[in-house]
């Protein structure tokens, strides 16, 4: 069988058997390779076994091959979404309807496959019997799950024309498959102000225009309906994001664009703490993070999404296991924000958020102690969630410097003081500006949960001046727990605050939640397992924002830094002047700090042993325009 006679795999530029076998050593290695695969005939297998018995280097080589195999086997597998088969069938149907055996530019492939099939096709033609793909006449109907083939050529043509017309209308009217978090809002005065033809990705990163059509094409090729459930959307996007396409663009833009946002004129009614009437939403237009509605202008949408790119970093010392607790989910749900489990998408966005610094770029990497900037500083030594800064030879765009630096500093500050093995809770919240502000306001009110709270960037960052409730750095410094509580951090009685931890589910926010509101109903329906995120607890029709959690353990190698950064810089400089290696100096310092914390000292040492720190990343998205 040769399905591809016309276009075989290109000739192997690698010397094949005979050439390779000229070298005895290579030949033996090749035998070992085949031995590993169980592909040797008995005589050669015997030879290899003798080699293994006699030659340590052969055994070592085999071990290396096994190690390589093990490494490759450890690579996570790509998977397709569950409805992929249905899409294939729909695409097949479309192909049959359109009569295009060669589709999406795959004419060559078609010819190749045809090659293998030529004989069978010939037989079919001779017999006057249409092959399934020959489209000599017929149409798919859909009796239940499948289709059957029956003759009806004319309806086929009509259906094909309708499909083409629909596609044309969709393209010319600018229907646009929304990005993963693209909000939907009426066209605001900022629409189009980004200028040029470089619309922004969902996080404000610029994306080239060209991929837009490609994206539409991809969406239509995949027969992806313009409006699907947001759940499916999320799954698909996680696949699409594997090579970063939705946000594949210039990463050099500043993170914050609140200056733009602050001038936005079309704001959805804020879903206030008392709830009131939530912005209307429909299941088919699920969220501010959802898809375009029919007729919505994609250019406006892109501009709106661009304008909605804002990031706040809220750093809190929080009650233990806050993210897992129903109170937190309730608090978000009260503002119509659905807390979903962590996802790869979150990791990607977290990575996006954490900005480059001093020519470095963030990369997901194994947790390593080394950091090391080339100048010898170790300020990024603290790894959070297995991220570390990886040195890259890339200039930093000066324009992004300050904003990104502010975020870096905030993140660094957030990491400071977390004990070895301490836990950090991360939550990415994407919601409307009003939702975010209301949530932050609630954080302040619930100081039993949020023991300290700091919102970054600071108000002197111009981009954040459009904010109101969030537009200030505020720190609610609760008195740290005493040494006694640090001594037994695992004791529930010692954990601060004990009341919420022991309160019945849904009780902590009782005074805030409207009895008739959906969130309270959802709270009552919270699964028995506290650790189970309230996924799906918020009806889709009521979701106006999303939050995703990332809760993990800080690196064991995380170093304590109890001192303000400025002092560290001074110390580092002093150490450098003294000729000591800065990293060593910091390590020694960290050991001292660690000891100090273990003794209950340090600025927040005791409290931090009793509680956890949460990093809440708030990214504002457009309201859903209800």
């Amino acid at each position: 069988m040769n399905p591809i006679p016309d276009d075989p795999i290109p000739d192997d530029p690698i010397p094949d058997d005979d050439a390779v076998r000229g070298d005895g050593a290579i030949r033996e290695e090749e035998l070992l390779s085949a031995y590993l695969d169980g592909e040797l005939p008995a005589d050669e297998r015997g030879r290899v076994e003798r080699l293994l018995a006699e030659q340590p280097e052969s055994r070592q080589w085999l071990d290396e091959l096994r190690s390589l195999r093990s490494t490759l086997e450890g690579v996570p597998r790509y998977r397709l979404e569950n409805d992929f088969a249905e899409r294939v069938l729909r695409a097949a149907e479309r192909t049959m309807l359109s009569g295009e055996v060669a589709f999406s530019g795959e004419a060559a492939l078609s010819a190749k496959v045809e090659g293998d099939a030529s004989e069978a096709n010939g037989r079919s033609r001779e017999a006057g019997k249409p092959a399934p793909g020959s489209l000599s006449g017929g149409v798919w109907s859909s009796p239940g799950a499948g289709w059957s083939w029956r003759r009806a050529r004319r309806p086929l043509v009509c259906a094909g024309l309708s499909l083409a017309a629909g596609l044309l209308i969709m393209l010319t009217q600018g229907h646009w498959p929304a990005g993963p978090h693209g909000g939907r809002r009426p066209a605001g005065p900022r629409a189009g102000q980004r200028g040029g033809n470089r619309p922004a990705g969902p996080h404000g990163r610029e994306v080239a225009v060209a991929p837009r059509n490609a994206e539409i094409g991809a969406a239509t090729r995949h027969d992806k309906p313009l409006q699907e459930s947001s759940e499916r959307d999320r799954v698909e996007l996680s696949l699409e994001s594997m090579d970063g396409k939705p946000t594949n663009g210039n990463a050099d833009r500043p993170l914050g664009n609140a200056a733009r946002r602050g001038r936005q004129s079309n704001k959805a009614p804020p879903p206030t703490s008392s709830l009131g009437s939530p912005p209307p939403a429909t299941a088919s237009q699920p969220t501010g993070l959802g898809r375009l509605a029919d007729g919505e202008d994609s250019d406006k949408r892109l501009a709106e999404v661009a304008a909605a790119d804002d990031t706040l970093l809220v750093v809190c010392d929080v009650a233990s296991n806050l993210v897992d607790r129903p109170e937190f989910q309730q608090l978000l749900a009260k503002h119509h924000i659905l807390l979903e489990p962590a996802s790869v998408e979150l990791l990607r966005r977290f990575k996006e958020l954490t900005p480059p610094s001093r020519g470095e770029d963030l990369a997901l990497s194994k947790s390593e102690k080394k950091i090391s900037a080339e100048d010898g500083t170790a300020e990024n030594d603290g790894d959070l969630m297995f991220y570390r800064l990886r040195r890259r030879q890339r200039d930093v765009d000066a324009a992004r410097g300050e904003n990104r630096k502010a975020a870096v500093d905030a993140l660094d500050d957030a990491l400071d003081g977390i004990p070895d093995g301490g836990e950090v809770e991360g939550v990415l919240v994407e919601a409307t500006e009003e939702q975010l502000e209301a949530v932050v306001a609630d954080f302040e009110r619930h100081s039993e949960l949020f023991l300290s709270l700091a919102v970054d960037p600071a108000p002197d960052v111009p981009e954040q001046q459009g904010l109101t409730a969030c537009n200030r750095t505020r720190t609610i410094v609760k008195p740290p727990a005493g040494p006694a509580s640090a001594a037994k951090p695992d004791s529930p009685a010692q954990q601060a605050p004990p009341a919420p931890a022991e309160a019945p589910k849904g009780a902590a926010l009782k005074d805030d939640v409207d009895d008739t509101s959906e969130p309270k109903d959802r709270a009552a329906a919270t699964p028995a397992d506290d650790r189970e995120p309230a996924k799906g607890a918020v009806p889709r029709s009521e979701v106006h924002g999303r939050a995703m959690r990332l809760s993990t353990r800080a690196s064991d190698k995380f170093k304590l830094r109890e001192e303000p950064r400025e002092d560290e810089d001074v110390k580092r400089e002093s150490a450098r002047k003294a000729g000591a290696k800065p990293v060593d100096a910091l390590n020694a310092e960290a050991s001292r700090d660690k000891k100090k914390v273990a003794e209950g000292g340090g600025q927040f040492g005791a409290a931090r042993q009793a509680q956890r720190r949460a990093i809440l990343i708030f990214r504002c998205v457009a309201p859903d325009g209800g």
Partner: protein
């Protein structure tokens, strides 16, 4: 597990849902393979979809002298090759690197473990990207998809001996590229 031939027969008899079963049976395996071979999960998705559609359209021409999946893989590999010509450049180490941590992964495990897996994946994929297309195809088919030499030979239209030598060479190259990873695992 329903036999492939039976599903093919049912499909040819007009029950397209049977082909849906075939798709579900092989979609992830094929997708994983193609994604690693061409280095772009997104493009791989298109390739795999096209391959399945082509297989469906051409199903009657499938003579069953080989396994269905061999035929299917062959179609997909050709689609990948022809697609690659159109979408150059596809593979880049940078792109591979930037993919790290972004793909859905199998299995559970702690977040930290998953992240480590993803980092490993990024390193492996970056190393694969440095191999020639021929080496990459053969090693992915063997090590990541578990095909035996005969099947690989059928898919790639190569003599078995060539598969063996090429696989050996691919391993040499990949071992070199992953030296650090392997050393980390086996100090």
């Amino acid at each position: 597990m329903v036999d492939d031939n039976r599903l093919i027969d049912e499909t040819l008899a007009g029950n397209s849902a049977a082909f849906g079963d075939l798709v579900r049976k092989y979609q992830d395996r094929l997708y994983n393979t193609i994604a690693h071979v061409i280095g772009s999960p997104e493009d791989a998705r298109d390739v795999v979809q096209d391959a399945f559609v082509q297989a469906f359209v051409k199903l009657e021409t499938f003579q069953r002298t080989s396994a269905f999946y061999t035929w299917l893989y062959r179609i997909a590999f050709n689609a990948a090759i022809s697609g690659k010509r159109r979408r150059k450049p596809t593979l880049s180490v940078e792109r591979q690197r930037e993919q790290c941590g972004e793909e859905p992964v199998d299995g559970g495990g702690a977040p930290g473990e998953r992240l480590e897996q993803q980092e490993l994946a990024a390193q492996v994929r970056a190393a694969l990207a440095k191999l020639s297309e021929e080496h990459r195809a053969v090693i992915v088919l063997r090590e990541m998809d578990g095909h035996d030499y005969d099947a690989i030979a059928g898919i790639l239209d190569l003599p078995v001996g060539t598969v063996r030598s090429r696989l050996h060479r691919a391993r040499l190259r990949l071992r070199e590229e992953l030296k650090q990873v392997l050393q980390l695992d086996h100090p």
